[in-house]
């Protein structure tokens, strides 16, 4: 991996200690975030994608706890910071936005003041200066009439505007990484498109890296540079976006992509992945996907696969870059930087030929 990694999550393990047993919500997740890129974490509910984000933000609450691994922000381990140090990092260097902006905004203060608070908390600045800064950021995130909106209360804003305020608040201290947990799930399609576009723009202009957590493959395809597919607390497949959609390698990823109804074709029946996500307390002995996998072999039920690099993923990456060239020269060149770092990893025995990427 290239040396310019802003956020390096290494073998992170977060467990929940419940009455019924220890739940491995995040089970050895490694994620690298290069600067100025959008990294997607995609998966179904309960796959641990939000828990990963919470662990990074130090927001895990009892009975959850980070039990292993490290989170390096610019080379500094932030897993074992004190509360005070953590609050310096949180919101300043790493910020987070949530699915439902209404619950993350305090209903009794005007939104402008709340964003100003976020600045004053982290930076030495006069109140007026901070306000000017807030108005700037409101403009940047596309809030119409920022002067007026500064004094609006959260309930007076629509869902889209609230999410813009949240993004503004997250961006106001120019963080290195912004974690967006399902930022568009509660929004309408046309508003979702606006917000995605905005995030992409901010990422390019301000050089902030974004970790985008979503369940929507469409959103991933739309904005992400690199994707991690999670299932039952583990990364099942990681790849550069074009490569992933071009050649999904893990049976789970393949199934996911096949089961989404397509706009451009009329299918009689949809492909389905049978069964449901396994209970994290009673995971299968082998690969956690084995019970639902249609390509499972005997050993999948007894042995746990590592994350293997797909054979020839480097070359494939090269080809991928070529094919993007056809789609859009500009996008292709932007992507190329990321591609060097991008290895295509799959947690499946079918790809054992490639080298191990973890454990």
């Amino acid at each position: 991996m290239s040396e310019a990694i802003v956020l390096d999550i290494r073998n992170l393990r977060s467990h929940f200690f419940t009455a019924k047993g220890e739940v491995p919500a995040v089970d050895g997740v490694s994620i690298q975030v290069p600067p100025g890129k959008i990294i997607g974490i995609v998966g179904e509910s309960g796959c641990g994608k939000s828990m990963t984000a919470m662990s990074v933000m130090g927001l895990l609450r009892y009975p959850g706890r980070v039990v292993g691994g490290s989170i390096l922000l610019d080379g500094r381990d932030i897993t074992h910071l004190t509360k005070k140090e953590l609050s310096q990092v949180r919101g300043n260097e790493v910020s987070m936005i949530f699915q439902e902006p209404m619950t993350s905004l305090n209903p009794v203060y005007p939104v402008g003041k709340q964003v100003r608070e976020a600045i004053l908390l982290h930076q030495k600045m006069g109140k007026d200066e901070a306000k000017a800064r807030v108005l700037d950021i409101f403009c940047a995130v596309g809030i119409p009439e920022p002067e007026k909106r500064y004094y609006s209360y959260p309930h007076q804003l629509s869902g889209g505007l609230r999410q813009r305020v949240m993004i503004g608040m997250a961006m106001v201290c120019r963080p290195k990484v912004m974690i967006a947990d399902e930022p568009t799930t509660a929004l309408d399609v046309t508003i979702e498109a606006q917000i995605l576009q905005l995030m992409k723009k901010l990422c390019e202009e301000q050089g902030t890296s974004i970790i985008l957590i979503t369940h929507n493959m469409g959103v991933v395809a739309e904005v992400c540079d690199y994707v991690y597919v999670m299932y039952a607390g583990k990364v099942m497949e990681q790849a550069e976006t074009f490569a992933l959609f071009e050649k999904p390698s893990h049976p789970y990823t393949q199934g996911l992509l096949k089961s989404i109804p397509k706009l451009d074709e009329k299918a009689e029946r949809l492909y389905t992945i049978d069964g449901v996500v396994p209970n994290l307390l009673h995971l299968p002995k082998g690969c956690s996907f084995c019970t639902r996998c249609d390509q499972a072999q005997k050993r999948c039920f007894v042995e746990r696969p590592c994350l293997y690099e797909t054979a020839g993923s480097r070359e494939a990456a090269g080809q991928g870059a070529g094919c993007q060239g056809q789609a859009s020269q500009e996008v292709g060149s932007r992507e190329a930087g990321c591609l060097e770092a991008a290895s295509h990893g799959v947690r499946c025995f079918q790809y054992e030929g490639g080298g191990k990427l973890d454990e």
Partner: protein
């Protein structure tokens, strides 16, 4: 009167035989109108002062027909009134004005006792599989409730039918005595579906039935809905904001914006060549699961959805429409017929 006469209906109810085999209806041919909405209006009080009461215009002047055996999708963003319309159509809400014809029979203003017989022919599946099942009733009780309500008092008979239904929707029978919280979202949705088909209805309103589910579960439930439709000749009104799901399941699509209809037409035609600007932008805005389709600058709708309390005059969409002209701000567009499609726009794309 369309398909069958009133007498036949009454007979069906008298027999109570809808529980037995003869309750299964003959395959519809998709030509007969099952349900027709005529200039439906639904308004909700929204506070304001006594002198100037405010009203939410949830559904404004909607007319549409649902043919037997088809799936008509209602598509639109939140607050466009699609869920309200669905509930008004099966009289879970009373319309403020307008009429609803079920098989040619006016059901608005019908006495509750008289309507009770028709009630069983129209069922609803809800969005939230967590809120739609009573947490204190077992699966058997939940699915059995409609049967009990319509006079199947015998416990054994009811249990047998419930088990049959459970099998039908893919819930194992040994879960008969389990409670909803022991199931996953997809399984709960199946329970909700079993409850809806228990009375052999003709029309099922599916109110965002898969939007709360995970992708892999979503496709299971969609397939199930399609299978059931085939087997029982069901008619669906499928309410959704997800255009790709609609594309898969619907025969015809009705696009709504802020309480009024924008466009109605056959799915393939409408997706292939949207006539209303809103439909086009909606289709454009969907994030597609193919990174090659991303474009640098997308043609996006600007602005927010106006409030249904003070909807804009003229065409409801004019505040966001890039092709807006003066007439759009003043006059409500009339229905243009283009082939089998209907568009409510002064200047349909073409």
């Amino acid at each position: 009167m369309s398909s069958r006469s009133r007498e036949e209906d009454m007979e069906r109810q008298r027999e109570g035989g809808a529980f037995s085999e003869n309750g299964i209806l003959p395959k519809p041919d998709g030509k007969k109108v099952l349900l027709e909405a005529r200039q439906l209006v639904k308004e909700f009080p929204a506070g304001g002062t006594r002198k100037k009461p405010q009203v939410v215009h949830a559904v404004t002047d909607v007319s549409l027909k649902i043919y037997e055996g088809e799936t008509l999708a209602l598509v639109g963003e939140s607050g466009c009134g699609k869920s309200t319309l669905g509930r008004v159509l099966i009289r879970l809400l009373e319309p403020t004005s307008g009429g609803i014809l079920y098989q040619g029979q006016e059901i608005v203003g019908m006495k509750e006792a008289e309507f009770a017989g028709l009630r069983r022919e129209m069922q609803i599946i809800f969005q939230d599989p967590y809120a739609s099942l009573n947490p204190r009733m077992s699966v058997g009780e939940i699915i059995g409730e409609p049967l009990l309500t319509y006079g199947m008092k015998d416990r054994k008979e009811r249990e047998a039918r419930v088990r049959e239904l459970m099998q039908e929707v893919g819930i194992a029978q040994e879960f008969y005595n389990r409670y909803p919280h022991q199931f996953s979202g997809g399984q709960r949705q199946r329970i909700g579906i079993a409850r809806a088909i228990a009375l052999n209805p003709r029309l099922i309103i599916c109110d965002e039935p898969v939007s709360a589910l995970d992708v892999s579960i979503q496709s299971q439930v969609l397939n199930l809905l399609k299978d059931l439709q085939e087997r029982y000749g069901l008619t669906y009104l499928f309410i959704s904001h997800d255009l790709s799901v609609v594309k898969f399941i619907a025969d015809r699509v009705c696009v709504m914006f802020l309480g009024s209809v924008c466009e109605i037409g056959d799915t393939d035609e409408l997706y292939g060549k949207p006539l209303h600007p809103y439909t086009r932008f909606l289709l454009n805005a969907i994030p597609k699961a193919d990174p090659r389709l991303r474009s640098k600058e997308k043609e996006l709708l600007s602005g927010e959805i106006p409030s249904p309390v003070n909807p804009p005059p003229g065409c409801r969409f004019h505040t966001r429409c890039p092709y807006v002209k003066d007439i759009c701000r003043k006059e409500v567009p009339e229905c243009h017929k283009v082939g089998k499609r209907r568009v409510f726009c002064h200047f349909p794309l073409g």
